[in-house]
Structures are given as structure tokens and as C-alpha cells.
């Protein structure tokens, strides 16, 4: 090999370019083509098509009748829709905010050079991530059960309850939010930890010399240096958290498609599924999809603006 002897850049590039055949010049495009093809067919086109189907009274095995914005007019007047919007936002807030805060604290704790069992702590925090949503939901539904649940038994020991979590709107939201947060907090912790480790230890040492305690170090060094990864996790957990589906479907013992008899925890994606694949109203279901799209874009942009406001105190 001539690797160490070859002069930098110019010469090999030039000779390489002359020799390149057409196939060689097209190679880069061929290498990136599979992703773009897959994304176009199964991502972008369906997304655009959602906006189109939403303008129709579209029965999958029957007529497609153009009805303009009627689906949206119907949606605005549909209390089930507003109920699902509220449930979605409520579950998303209840799961995301505690999850990110817990991850921040844990990452800060794990970022210690002399910590024992470091690999064990990190690995155990990834266990929820590899556990399927379906399995998670079934276990947590048992733990929060009114009659035989572990949690109500514990509460009973101190004379509280039993609480019928699934009966109450807030209770079912909490149960679902706990499942979502449980699944993701460890993964988020590892992302934060990776960013924290990139901060030179000397900065913390200097701060300690200046008399900054643990809290001040956390507030003025850790948080600002985590800014890009915080923005990333806030945006991704918004996109994921607003499309929650499996947990509400599997958690309710009765009427799974509405997550309980009075739709107490039906999310927008579940409502979309109920209308689209339960009632075979593809047009109305797509209109729900469009509404969800607007909601996600709005909330994600808002979060982006808010979370980019976190700036270092001293630059």
C-alpha cells in the first residue's frame, strides 16, 4: 500500500476523475437510491395521499365521492375528535416531561468517573427499550389493576384506595404515560450521558474550585452543554409521543378500539384506526391523519423554539 507515501488530495483526485466511467460516476446515486425509493413509496407518497383521500367519502371496497372539506367540517363538530386531541396532548405531556427530567438527573449521576458498576447501570436502563410495547402494556395493566394490581395492594397497606385507574380519565392517562416514560427514559439517559462525557472534566473541576456546588454545576455546565441533544429528544419524543397507539389499544379490558367505554384514553392515532379500519371510513380517517399532522408540526415547532432558548450563561 502506498497510503503513507501518497501526496495529499490533488493528484489522486484528478487522475481518479479522468478514469471514472459512467457506471462509477453513477455509483453514489445508486447507493443512496434504495432509501429514497423506500421513503417515497412508503412515506412521502402516503403522507401526501392522506391530504387527498381526506377530501373524499372513501369506502375501501365501494365508492369514492369527492366531498371537498366536508370531512373537516364534520371533524370540527365531532366531540370524539376533541376528546382524542385532549387525551393525546395530556398523555404526551404526562409522559415526556417527567421522562426527560428523570433522564437529565440520571445522566448527571452516571457521569462520574469513579462510579462502580457503570456498565450494569447503563445496561439495565436499556432493558425497557428492548421490551415490546405489547408486553409492557400487559404487565403495567396488571400492576395498575383495580382488584388484583400490585400498586393497589401496596396502597392498601397504607390505607389508600383501591383506585380504579382505568375508570378515570386522568388515571388511564397516567397509566399510559408511565408505560411510555418507562420505555424511553433509559435510552434518553444514554444519549444525555454521551453528550455529558464530551464536556471536559476540567470545566467541572474549575467550577468546583470556584465554589460551585453540585446543583450549580448541573444548572450552569451540564444543561447548556446538553442543548443540542435536548432539542433532539424533545422533537423526537413529540413526534413519537403524539402518535401513541399500542398502549391505549392494549391497556383497556373492554372496548379496546376506544380505550374504554367512554373513550377516556382514546388517542388520535387510535381514533384514526377506529374510523379507518374499524368503520372503513378511509376519508374521515385520513382527515384525522391530517389533523394529527397539523398538531405534530405545531407542537414540534413550538418545542423547537422553546428548547433552543436554552443558552449557556457564559459563552
Amino acid at each position: 500500500m502506498t497510503a503513507t507515501l501518497s501526496p495529499p488530495r490533488a493528484l489522486p483526485e484528478a487522475t481518479g476523475r479522468v478514469r471514472q466511467s459512467l457506471a462509477e460516476r453513477l455509483a453514489p446515486y445508486a447507493y443512496i437510491a434504495p432509501f429514497f425509493l423506500l421513503f417515497a413509496v412508503f412515506g412521502l407518497i402516503p403522507l401526501l395521499f392522506t391530504f387527498y383521500v381526506a377530501l373524499f367519502d372513501w369506502n375501501p371496497i365501494g365508492e369514492h365521492v369527492f366531498i371537498g372539506l366536508d370531512n373537516f367540517t364534520r371533524l370540527v363538530g365531532d366531540t370524539r375528535f376533541w376528546n382524542a386531541v385532549w387525551n393525546t396532548i395530556s398523555i404526551w405531556l404526562l409522559s415526556t416531561v417527567p421522562q426527560l427530567l428523570v433522564a437529565l438527573v440520571l445522566a448527571h449521576l452516571l457521569n462520574h468517573a469513579r462510579l462502580r458498576l457503570a456498565v450494569f447501570w447503563r445496561m439495565s436502563m436499556l432493558v425497557p427499550y428492548i421490551t415490546s410495547v405489547a408486553a409492557t402494556t400487559i404487565v403495567f395493566a396488571q400492576m395498575f389493576d383495580r382488584d388484583y394490581g400490585l400498586l393497589n395492594w401496596l396502597l392498601g397497606l397504607v390505607g389508600v384506595g383501591p383506585i380504579d385507574f382505568m375508570q378515570a380519565g386522568w388515571g388511564s392517562h397516567v397509566v399510559i404515560a408511565v408505560m411510555v416514560a418507562w420505555r424511553w427514559f433509559g435510552y434518553t439517559t444514554l444519549l444525555y450521558l454521551a453528550s455529558l462525557q464530551a464536556v471536559p472534566k476540567t470545566i467541572y473541576e474549575a467550577a468546583a474550585v470556584d465554589g460551585a456546588g453540585a446543583w450549580k454545576q448541573f444548572r450552569h455546565i451540564s444543561i447548556p452543554s446538553l442543548r443540542p441533544v435536548i432539542v433532539f429528544t424533545v422533537v423526537t419524543s413529540t413526534i413519537g409521543g403524539l402518535q401513541i397507539f399500542t398502549e391505549p389499544l392494549l391497556v383497556a379490558r373492554t372496548s379496546p378500539l376506544t380505550c374504554g367505554p367512554v373513550r377516556q384514553c382514546q388517542t388520535l392515532t387510535l381514533f384514526l384506526y377506529e374510523q379507518g379500519f374499524g368503520q372503513f371510513e378511509f376519508g374521515y380517517g385520513s382527515a384525522i391523519g391530517v389533523a394529527l399532522f397539523v398538531l405534530i408540526i405545531a407542537v414540534a415547532s413550538l418545542n423547537y423554539v422553546l428548547s433552543t432558548r436554552i443558552r449557556p450563561e457564559r459563552s
Partner: protein, 275 residues
């Protein structure tokens, strides 16, 4: 200085609580999966496993075609894992190491697609799968998941930092084509990163629910996750059975995790936010 360096006792207390919170639900799943319904409904609850595991596991296998479901899940998740490792490495290689018109703009498009929520488009997605004649087939699950923007971003980071331009230029002078450079030089050097990416693809495909739930119709085509749902349907009262199915469907990933968990942790921490 010394004081600031020491790990405080409450650090271990909090980390211990977090680890317990992560592991206990799985332990509890195993406990309920080994007891009969009457014991599962006893108060105070039994917190040690019972002896009913094989009985319940047998019931799982006779209620739904569970072996078939596990095989289906392995086929789907395995294909997606391999597809991720190869296709995302290939695209990441092009973005990191090849020069071609439109490269930066196209890479920006890849990054932007990560922020596009596509799950809400399930109705047209189903219509496309239906027009391809793929409803109730495994390729309906495999093909859309073969590559991802996240994977390309991830592999590009690794390729850009691991492989020097000099090596590639030397190979080119020696007469190697672009494909040979990728397959013989670049890919072997980033195989650890591609392996972790493949694992992440495997795990998320194994655990996927909404899309298989929409596309699969007949019990023989079910993946493990949909089989759990079917168990929950047919025996809504017998909790042990659903738990047993959940445990059996989680077990392969737990075993895998024991062997490769360390590398997954390192990979996740290594990947996203270095650059």
C-alpha cells in the same frame, strides 16, 4: 477537590431505584407467567415464581400458532436488521466519502425526513400495500423498513470519522472500483457500528405493533406481538396466559441482550451526538 470527586451514597440509592424500576416489571411478568389465575389473584400477591410455567407455555403454543409467530418475527426482524446494516452503510458511505453533485442537498433531505411523521399516513400506506397484493404477507412488513434516515445519518458519522481519505485514494490508485472500496475496505472497518445499527433495527422491527396489526390478517402470518394481542383477546380473564405469551415473546430479545447489550449501549452512546 477530594470531596467533589467522591461518589455520594444517594447516587447509588437513586441509580438502584432506577435499575429496580427497569428490571422489576420483567421479573413480575415472569412471576405471573408461572402462576395460575387463582394465585395471580391472591392478596397479598405472590412475589416468587410458581411452578406453572411449562403448563402455561404449553397453553400459549396450543392457543395460537406461537412457534410460527416467533419464526415470522425472526424473519421480519432479521431481514430488517441486515437490510439496515447493508443499505444504510452503503448510503452513509456515499454521503461520507464520495463526491457527487447534489450530495449536501440530498443529505439534508435525508435528515429532514427524520422529522416527518409517517405513522399517521397508515391508510394510504395500507392502500399501497393492498395494490401491490402484499396484504397478509411478511414482505409488507420487511420492505418498507429496510433502510432508515436515522441509520444513514448514523453510518455516515461513523464512516466520516473512521476512514481516512488517504486509504481510499490509495485504493483508487491501485485500481479498485467504488464498490470494491466500499465492500473490501470501508464496510469491514465500520462493521461494529453497522452491527449495532442492525441490532437496533432488529429490536424495533421485533417490537413493532401498529403496522403488522393493520397488514396481517391470518393467524399463521402473525408476528409475536400480534400473537400476544390474540392471546389477550381469547383469554381476557386468564392473565397468566397473556403474561406467559408476553414473556416468551420477550425472551429471545433478553437472551440477545445479555450477549450484545454492552455493545448496544456503547453504540447508542457513540452514535448520535459526537459531531
Amino acid at each position: 477537590m477530594k470531596k467533589a470527586d467522591r461518589v455520594r451514597w444517594w447516587t447509588y440509592l437513586l441509580l438502584g431505584a432506577a435499575a429496580l424500576a427497569c428490571l422489576f416489571p420483567l421479573y413480575w411478568m415472569f412471576v405471573v407467567a408461572t402462576t395460575d389465575t387463582a394465585t395471580a389473584h391472591k392478596l397479598p400477591p405472590e412475589i416468587v415464581p410458581g411452578g406453572n410455567f411449562f403448563h402455561l407455555a404449553g397453553l400459549v403454543f396450543s392457543t395460537v400458532p406461537f412457534v410460527r409467530s416467533i419464526v415470522n418475527s425472526l424473519v421480519v426482524a432479521g431481514s430488517i436488521g441486515v437490510g439496515h446494516a447493508v443499505l444504510c452503510s452503503l448510503a452513509g458511505f456515499a454521503f461520507a466519502k464520495l463526491r457527487f453533485p447534489g450530495r449536501n442537498a440530498l443529505f439534508l433531505v435525508v435528515v429532514l425526513t427524520m422529522t416527518v411523521p409517517t405513522q399517521l399516513a397508515v391508510i394510504p400506506q395500507y392502500m399501497i400495500i393492498s395494490s401491490l397484493g402484499w396484504v397478509d404477507t411478511l414482505q409488507a412488513l420487511i420492505v418498507p423498513g429496510l433502510a432508515s434516515a436515522f441509520g444513514i445519518f448514523w453510518m455516515r458519522q461513523h464512516l466520516a470519522t473512521t476512514i481516512s481519505d488517504e486509504i481510499l485514494q490509495a485504493a483508487r490508485i491501485d485500481g479498485a472500483g467504488t464498490w470494491q472500496i466500499f465492500w473490501r475496505i470501508a464496510f469491514p472497518l465500520v462493521r461494529p457500528a453497522a452491527f449495532v445499527l442492525g441490532l437496533l433495527g432488529f429490536v424495533s422491527a421485533w417490537n413493532d405493533f401498529l403496522w403488522p396489526f393493520i397488514v396481517l390478517k391470518s393467524p399463521e402470518m402473525y408476528t409475536a406481538q400480534i400473537a400476544i394481542k390474540a392471546l389477550q383477546n381469547s383469554y381476557s380473564i386468564d392473565l397468566g396466559l397473556a403474561m406467559s405469551g408476553s414473556f416468551l415473546a420477550t425472551l429471545p430479545l433478553l437472551v440477545l441482550f445479555v450477549f450484545v447489550g454492552r455493545r448496544m449501549v456503547a453504540g447508542i452512546m457513540d452514535g448520535a451526538f459526537k459531531g
